[in-house]
Amino acid sequence: MLTTSPIERILRGLAITLVCLFFMFPIVWIFLMSFQTNETILRIPPSVVFAPTLDNYQALITGKLETAAGMLEINFMRNLGNSLFLSATSVAIGLLLGVPAAYAFARLKFKGSEDIAFTLLSFRFAPPLLVLLPLTIYFQQLGLANTYGGLIWVYQLIVLPLILWIVRGYFEDIPADIEYAYRIAGHDFWSTFRRIALPLAGPGIAAAGLLSFIFAWNNFVFALVLASADKQPVTVGALAFVTASGIQYGQVAAGIVLSIAPTFALALYAQRYLVEGLSLGAVKG
């Protein structure tokens, strides 16, 4: 039986604390900044002692931002709503299309399957800026420019390859014999997929969904180029606090706290799927 000495335990605890502090410090500091005014944030030297204020959150929620140059109107909550809508819808569509496709690539070996799968993956290789200009022109001709539908379509470039390749690896890890046994019992292909493959691949699908949600949430350039101001996600909207009349650090911090909250909550809720799904799909038997 392995035993650890008290000194080893203390050192280990100390090391873990230091690592946690190192990684968590920026988040904690941003959290504290979100309750301060610009003046207290910028004082020299910085201090953790301050009178907390909810003004930054109030400004974000009401859309009225007080700056040195007067009142600015901001649409942060709309940006937040856009991010939620675009990311969630894109991931939902990505899962709807990607999971059956991943199953097909994993189970049905047909001519050109590898080529098609690789082509889909190659969408992730192309730098977005390279494809944006032709996309803009096509979108204008097709009437998709400045529409949520167009953006969700483009977001498939981010989410679909990710879902497809993660979930495919996971389907390949499920022994095919389980599915064959179910088929021999008289069930058809569709119900085998629905009742056996899908539940077994659940953690992998959740992990792929979560990761692609985070990637979609963090996207910046697609909406910026392809849509008007009213359809911009939070990644673009957050820049509104960097104004010619100064950087509103308090509102930037509050904006960060609000914008990481959904993904943070989702990651906390689904972290066991995330770890399980990614690690199981990664090891070949």
């Binding site: 610009n38 003046e39 910028l42 004082r43 020299i44 030297p45 007080e66 700056t67 040195a68 140059a69 007067g70 600015l72 944006l132 200009l133 803009t136 022109i137 204008q140 420019a145 400045n146 350039v221 910026l224 180029v225 008007s228 101001a229 009213d230 911009q232 673009v236 909207g237 820049l239 509104a240 960097v242 104004t243 010619a244 009349s245 100064g246 950087i247």
Partner: protein, 478 residues
């Protein structure tokens, strides 16, 4: 509006009555100052309408692409007057400054007809104009059918309006006779000194009047700053490091970025003896008295630090000092001074940044768009923005002559009006207009960083820079 009030406002607009008499007259009729402002604005709109068919494009919609900026706020705040005047509708998209030019470039390079007009800097039109993305506005300005006779094009400050006009030839003089008017200014920034009067007074510091005094004062200020530093100037690896204080001082010694030879070819001009001497002083100033993290400093850090009392002064845009004099820890303590780096110069020669409006060549409503452009760059909106909003520095001389505007500035921004009046005659874009502008100035900034970090001596660094610039110009056939 009641007839008596209307009569008073119209008399004022015809120049038959002073502003003081107008306010007194309206006061006697029971009209408050705020209402008087509104009446005046409505009156100005009526006066505009009297001489020109503003309703010609009634029912048409134009769409604008705007940068999140106080100048755009002034525009939006006055839009209802334009709509009432013309019967047109105006839609707009506002994007944060950090990504604004990416959005503009994407829209223009894809030939998008979504936006009819957009805010731009004059430097950017050196790319947009030759690419065929923006229209030459001269043809509209010079067409009496399309332009209001009260537009008063000659009212623009000469250095500012000329800086928005270029003939498209690399090295061609801005505002030359054959120049095309790629954009029309909304407002502009001069680069001068903004200093913290509280710190200066408490420590017996005098406002510097040339580059040597600037070095001495910055050093003395740093010594008393208690953790802060003496002078803020930009230092990031970007064209924006060269164009404010640095180039304003450089131009004051009659130095140029590029020379034009007899064949019209461009060559580097920044490795002259005078230039090397100026660079040495600039580098020494940053090393002795600049921000410790100078090489990361942009508009935001320079402004934020002077507003927070972390730096004693800055040599940057006057309007940045204007913004920092409100809502910051040092609000009310900042003062302004025109600055001529060269003691032998006849006056300051600030390089300027201009926020202007341009018309997209892909617009499908060009005549209607011009109606909007002439209104937003016209004397009435410029005056409205300057008096009621933060459209500072206005680009029209008539606005600078307006007593109410000057009083507003003098009341809250000590020395601002004097600073402007002193340096405006020498204010213009000091760069040579050419398509490699952003590449060459970014490399210039990178060389400055190396000099300040002592990675390369100033003389050697400038010779290397000149060699690289010449090579790039030759490669580009310039």
């Amino acid at each position: 509006m009641y007839e008596k009030e209307k009569g008073l406002v119209d008399a004022y607009l015809r120049g038959q009555m002073s502003r003081r008499s107008l306010i007194r007259g309206l006061g006697s009729l029971g009209v408050t100052a705020a209402t008087a402002g509104t009446l005046l604005n409505l009156g100005a709109t009526r006066a505009l309408a009297a001489d020109f068919d503003w309703k010609k494009h009634s029912g048409t919609t134009v769409k604008l692409l705007l940068n999140k900026h106080p100048y755009a706020d002034a525009l939006i705040a006055n839009l209802d007057n334009f709509k009432e005047l013309t019967g047109m509708d105006v839609q707009y998209d506002v994007f944060p400054e950090d990504v604004y030019f990416d959005k503009v470039t994407a829209a223009l390079s894809s030939g998008s007809s979504e936006y009819d007009a957009f805010m731009t800097g004059a430097y950017m039109t050196w790319t947009y104009g030759p690419a065929g993305w923006v229209d030459d506005l001269s043809e509209y300005i010079n067409d009496p059918e399309k332009t209001n006779p009260l537009y008063a094009f000659d009212d623009f400050l000469p250095g500012v309006i000329k800086s928005c006009a270029w003939n498209g030839q690399p090295g061609g003089a801005l505002g030359s006779d054959d120049a095309k008017q790629w954009c029309i200014p909304l407002a502009y920034e001069q680069n001068n000194l903004t200093y913290n009067k509280r710190i200066f007074d408490a420590n017996g510091l005098k406002v510097p009047t040339n580059i040597d005094e600037l070095l001495d004062t910055a050093k003395a200020a740093k010594a008393v700053m208690n953790g802060g530093y003496g002078i803020g100037v930009r230092g990031s690896r970007s064209w924006a490091t060269i164009h404010p204080g640095f180039l304003s001082g450089y131009a004051n010694f009659d130095q140029k970025d590029l020379n034009i030879d007899a064949d019209g070819k461009l060559t580097a001009a920044m490795n002259t003896d005078v230039s090397k001497e100026y660079h040495k002083k600039w580098v020494q100033m940053i090393q002795e008295s600049g921000a410790p993290d100078w090489s990361t400093h942009t508009w935001y850090q320079v402004g934020t630090d002077v507003g927070a009392g972390k730096s004693a002064m800055m040599f940057d845009a006057d309007i940045l000092g204007y913004f920092m004099n409100g809502g910051t820890a040092e609000a009310g303590n900042l003062a302004f001074s025109a600055f001529a780096a060269n003691p032998a110069a006849s006056g300051p020669t600030p390089n300027i940044w201009i926020w202007a409006m341009a018309m997209s060549s892909f617009s499908k409503n060009k005549d209607a768009t011009w109606y909007f452009l002439q209104w937003v760059t016209g004397p009435e909106h410029d005056l409205f923005g300057a008096q009621k909003m933060d459209l500072v520095n206005p680009a029209r001389s008539s606005v600078w002559a307006d007593g109410a505007f000057r009083d507003k500035l003098s009341g809250s921004y000590p020395g601002y009006v004097e600073m402007h009046d002193t340096s405006a005659p020498g204010a213009s874009i000091k760069f040579t207009a050419q398509p490699l502008f952003f590449d060459l100035t970014t490399e210039w900034a990178a060389t400055l960083q190396k000099m300040v970090a002592n990675e390369v001596p100033v003389d050697e660094g400038l010779d290397m820079l000149a060699e690289s610039v010449n090579s790039q110009l030759a490669d580009a056939g310039l």
